[in-house]
Subunit: 336 residues, 2 copies
């Protein structure tokens, strides 16, 4: 252990990150909130259920097609709160700036954060700024933490998932990761792929209003749709069956992934979510999602099949099937 070092894969949303959380953090900080393994802690304050969440953003490049580190940092934290069924209200902002960072870029990022916060209906209420000497950080890192209030009655958690529930994805997958990749690779052609970075709290409100039987929601960020499904199957001890053909992927995203040898199912999104709901409510929930501007590409991609063990089986387009596992490596460093 003494000579072991942190690898990029420890921040990937994959196997090594899971191991780090379980081996290094859990034993020290052990409590029920952490063990729930949700995107936010759901805590009681007086008679209110409050979601509390944090995320640091280190995305590279800081300005990318469809967004920037500022808007991303608001969207990500708003979404983490929304995924626990919370109405996001208050955001904190912690900036780490590299000495020499252009003030103009900082103002552009702050303006972008302000717009994203306004659109999502949240207030930035507290903050902190640190500056480190040139070379001690790369341009700008942003931490946002957030608070929201949960009014939904049922517990939104992988543990609430039941046999015969349906699994919905809210639109095309892999757009954010592909947009970031397109800025890094010399592809020999111009890509028009935009990040899907967006605040999903409005869409979530519609979903929660449509059904009392929403079991689980998760935005498919690091590790992509694949990681969300595998983690939910593990946490619920259930088997999911997914139809690859039903997973929406843009042609250009699929093309880019093919060139680079990547599977879109593991590519990060920043404005797409997985919803698991009771099978009988699936059509209603799907139609509500599709009616929202951020959910027009939604699709029912699979269902929950109870078996003795937790796993995710992908029925492939060519008629075969394979079991999904968490990605081992880091597909795209500094994706968010």
């Amino acid at each position: 252990m003494k000579d072991e070092r942190i690898l990029l894969e420890h921040g990937s949303g994959g196997l090594l990150m899971n191991a780090l959380i379980h081996d290094a953090f859990m034993p020290v900080f052990k409590n029920d909130y952490l063990e729930a393994m949700l995107d936010s802690a759901v805590i009681a304050i007086g008679k209110k259920k409050v979601c509390f969440t944090t995320d640091s953003y280190v995305v590279d490049p800081i300005f990318f097609p469809g967004g920037d580190i500022g808007s991303l940092s608001i969207h990500g934290t708003v979404n983490d709160i929304a995924m626990c069924g919370g109405k996001p209200l208050f955001i904190s902002v912690g900036l780490i700036l590299e000495e020499g960072f252009p003030k103009h870029d900082l103002e552009r990022i702050i303006t972008s954060m302000g717009k994203a916060a306004k659109t999502a209906g949240v207030q930035v209420v507290t903050g902190d700024t640190k500056v480190v000497p040139k070379g001690s950080a790369d341009k700008i890192f942003i931490n946002t933490s957030g608070l929201g209030i949960v009014e939904y009655k049922a517990a939104i958690s992988p543990k609430s998932i039941r046999k015969d529930d349906c699994i919905i994805v809210s639109g095309t997958i892999g757009d954010h990761g592909a947009a970031i990749l397109s800025t890094r690779q010399d592809l020999g052609f111009r890509s028009n792929i935009l990040s899907d970075s967006a605040a999903l709290n409005g869409l979530v409100e519609d979903v929660l209003a449509a059904s009392k039987n929403i079991r689980f929601m998760r935005d498919a960020t690091r590790g992509g749709l694949g990681a969300v499904l595998v983690e939910a199957a593990m946490a619920s001890s259930l088997a999911f069956e997914i139809e690859e053909q039903q997973i929406p992927v843009r042609d250009d995203v699929r093309g880019l992934c093919e060139i680079l040898g990547l599977d879109p199912i593991f590519i990060a999104n920043e404005g797409k979510m997985v919803v698991v709901c009771a099978g009988r409510d699936a059509d209603k929930v799907l139609s509500v999602i599709k009616a929202h501007p951020l959910g027009s590409g939604a699709s029912i991609i699979g269902k929950v099949k109870e078996t003795g063990r937790s796993r995710v089986i992908l029925r492939t387009i060519v008629g075969g099937s394979r079991e999904l596992d968490l990605p081992e490596g880091e597909l795209i460093p500094r994706i968010c």
Copy 2:
């Protein structure tokens, strides 16, 4: 503006940082919480008053005499909540790790965070880990955000300060900054100065129980005691008169500052606070602070004298007087 760049001074707790907050952040995020200029936002959740705060820690070195970046990150956020009169309860942790960071050091830091959290009586309930490629960050940065509940009736705020209030400091100043400096400078002698990094919430509980007339509290971190006094005078539009002779400074800290040409009044602390209370309660509050292990060196250092303008006058040991201003430069980069 286009060619302006971020300087170390923008993160110093001094004049440039104040300018950045007022020029770049306030106009975009404008709201009453931010404008209160407290260490935490005080928000309403149901019938509860809740403090919400955030801080990023970039201290260098990450292990220093008297603490490390882990314990510091818990103490700092616990203290920010306590300074608003809140009882700290829940903490989030956002880690940014440099690829190649020794796992053993990470475990040591996490263990230190766990101990500090236990001592302070707070729970780490949610977290996030990012890893950036080698050279994109320096070892480890930690963001902690926190929540606490305020039960104290009166508003703890510089705006609550009144003429004839007394100003108390809870112990010797400059210890943290001097401890960090002693690790960086080749002083030609061994220093025994330890950081004062500590959670002040227990001490604050005693203070709030002792008097209904606590006006203002602030831990004297970046910018030191001097910055706290100047900012409080500005925010309250009052004149403070401080007796330099009453300010407790350890001999070795004073010696180190003299060698380096620094004024201890502007050197960072991580376990000392300023308390402003009604003059008639000052002796009672002082004795409660002195009775606490973290306040044994406390002293009444001055009082509030109403005048037309806000300023801090220091009556010096040699019998003169000078007006304090926020430090212009960055005295010690990466102090916290």
